[in-house]
Amino acid sequence: MEIVKRPHVENFIRWSKDKPEVVVLTADLTNSSEVGKWRDTYPERFFPMKMAEQNMMGFAAGLAREGYTPFIHTFAVFIYRRPYDQLAMSIAYPNLSVRFVAFLPGITTPGGVTHQAIEDVAIMRATPNMTILETGDATEVESVLDVAQSVDGPVYIRMLRGEVPRLFPSDEPMALDRVRILSEGDDVTVITAGITTEEAMRAAAPLAAAGVAMRHLHVSTHKPLTDPTILESIKQTRHGVITLENHTVIGGLGSAIAELMADNGVGKRLLRLGLQDTYAHGASRAYLMKEYGLDAPALVRGIEELLGRSIGVSEADLDVVRIEQVHSLAKVEAL
């Protein structure tokens, strides 16, 4: 598997070149949000707002009202938690085209509870006018900017940084409100987003070898979530549906699928894997994914529960786990 180092850095610089309306605002996390080189390339369009996120939301709103497209770059928790009233009233209500590039989604950081955005999708889903995107690989990191820019209104992006795998071909960019079908099969439908997609992909071959037909859908748009492929897959599936999300199971992808099923009267089992209404703690991503059941073995256990039998796939059968170095050179700090 190709691992791309910091795909956002050069891509965002290239993409911004002929878009003078694009400005960047940060809150003391410029290099940590991979826009240090962007700042040096376009200093006249870069506005450091210091550690003052409430004010940053208002400035972004004002700039957006005057025709600029602010790309706020900071950690996700400092976008939706600390300044939520400002985000909602200054930006979301007036439907302003501000882009929130939100780093460290879920348990991707060993920074612990203060840095782990585990309920951001829930809160942004409940925010009217908000579009929510999530990147799952380098191709999506590279193509999410065009998707965001096509939206007339605010967009929240769960962004990956550092060493990012390329799971999808470079010539198959992210598309708004379109899922990717990564495997076909009618025994179970597995729906993933962000970093959990790689986990389900690891399980695909062993499951097929064990005779389990999994339809795997990758979601990159949490809101709107109206691609008819999802409902069709759920209707066709024999044993049930599993959602696997890097987020609490309340209010995120699992809840969205539950709403979709209930709204359409689809009576199938739904297993929502993810953080089970709990905060996490500071540890490596691989460790936390195992601890909280967000990884490939957890998915296999879930499928066994839906099927009501063991399918004989052991952890050793699953592809080698990609260990991301905590002290990778692709990150400016260990966070």
Partner: protein, 306 residues
């Protein structure tokens, strides 16, 4: 109705608009048995100065009688209109008016009527179901360009607008009207630090320092340095003025300091309506407790009309 710049001494006109604001708000409070009266008493001269003397605005582009609620911004199938249209077109040479304490909406509507930007009938829609003339205005309400009812959010938004206008090379200023209670929110200090750092001298702020908030008198709660010292310490310029003295306001509001500029207008929350002082310190909202009380305010109103 008074048309600004119609030849007579500007003070006569500006005071007439201020008196008209107070009278119109009291009339509304009498007829509806309730309203934000002290805000009109304290800020009538501030709004009058803004709309007759200080703001450089083009004529209103909005209908004199406000449109009904047509949907929130971004709602599918709706054509949203912005209340800033009452302040004229957005052109580089014109000023912009950003209204921060949205519970002053009644005062703003009265001011718009007094200067001919809103029809007197418009106020009949105040707080009526389906109307945009809301009690606490949002950005579809007449004169309201940004949504600021969650207090202390306007200054940052105005900062972004002022920054963009500097980048565009606009000659117009961005004026913000604020209330003193808002300075209790931390966001204001984030904003002052930032507008000073970016040297947004096209951003000007007038504050109604009436010493009042929902729970009563600010002085009981607040202590320490006067606001001017704090604002200056954060890098902006700040001057105090008697908020009912037109000459003092003019001097303070037109001062050129090369910095973002704050005018702290010291005001009296019962100015022009002394019997209201009997209710101190709870002046945030006026509702009559008896017919006798209502009659006394009616008599005060009759005196104002004369």
């Amino acid at each position: 109705m008074t048309v600004p710049g119609a030849g007579t001494d500007w003070r006569t006109e500006t005071q007439a608009v201020a008196d008209g604001i107070r009278r119109r708000v009291l009339d509304h409070v009498l007829r509806n048995n309730g309203g934000y009266m002290s805000q009109a008493c304290s800020s009538a001269e501030i709004f009058s100065m803004l709309y007759t003397k200080v703001l450089r605005l083009g004529p209103s582009t909005a209908p004199p009688v406000p449109r009904s609620f047509g949907g929130v911004p971004g709602a599918p199938g709706t054509e949203f209109f912005n209340g800033g249209e009452y302040n004229g077109p957005r052109e580089p040479r014109f000023d912009r008016f950003i209204f921060s304490p949205s519970h002053y909406a009644l005062v703003l509507y009265a001011a718009l009527i007094e200067v001919g930007r809103l029809a007197p009938d418009g106020l009949e829609q105040f707080n009526q179901d389906g109307s945009t003339v809301e009690m606490i205005g949002a950005e579809h309400s007449p004169g309201v360009e940004t949504t600021t009812g969650s207090l202390a959010q306007a200054l940052s938004q105005a900062g972004g607008i002022a920054l963009a206008r500097k980048l565009h090379g606009d000659s117009g200023n961005v004026w913000v009207m604020m209330s003193d209670g808002e300075f209790q929110e931390g966001q204001i200090w984030e904003a002052i630090e930032t507008i000073s750092r970016y040297n947004l001298d096209n951003l000007r702020v007038i504050v109604d320092v009436n010493g009042q908030q929902c729970d009563g008198c600010l002085d009981e709660i607040e202590s320490g340095d006067p606001l001017t010292h704090k604002i200056r310490a954060f890098g902006a310029s700040a001057v105090e003025a008697d908020g009912h003295d037109l000459d003092a306001l003019e001097l303070a509001m037109t001062a050129q300091t090369g910095k973002p500029h704050f005018v702290l207008a010291r005001t009296d929350p019962v100015h022009g309506l002394p019997i209201f002082g009997d209710r101190a310190p709870l002046l945030h909202y006026l509702r009559f407790t008896s017919e006798e009380e209502r009659a006394r305010y009616q008599a005060a109103y009759e005196e104002m009309v004369v």
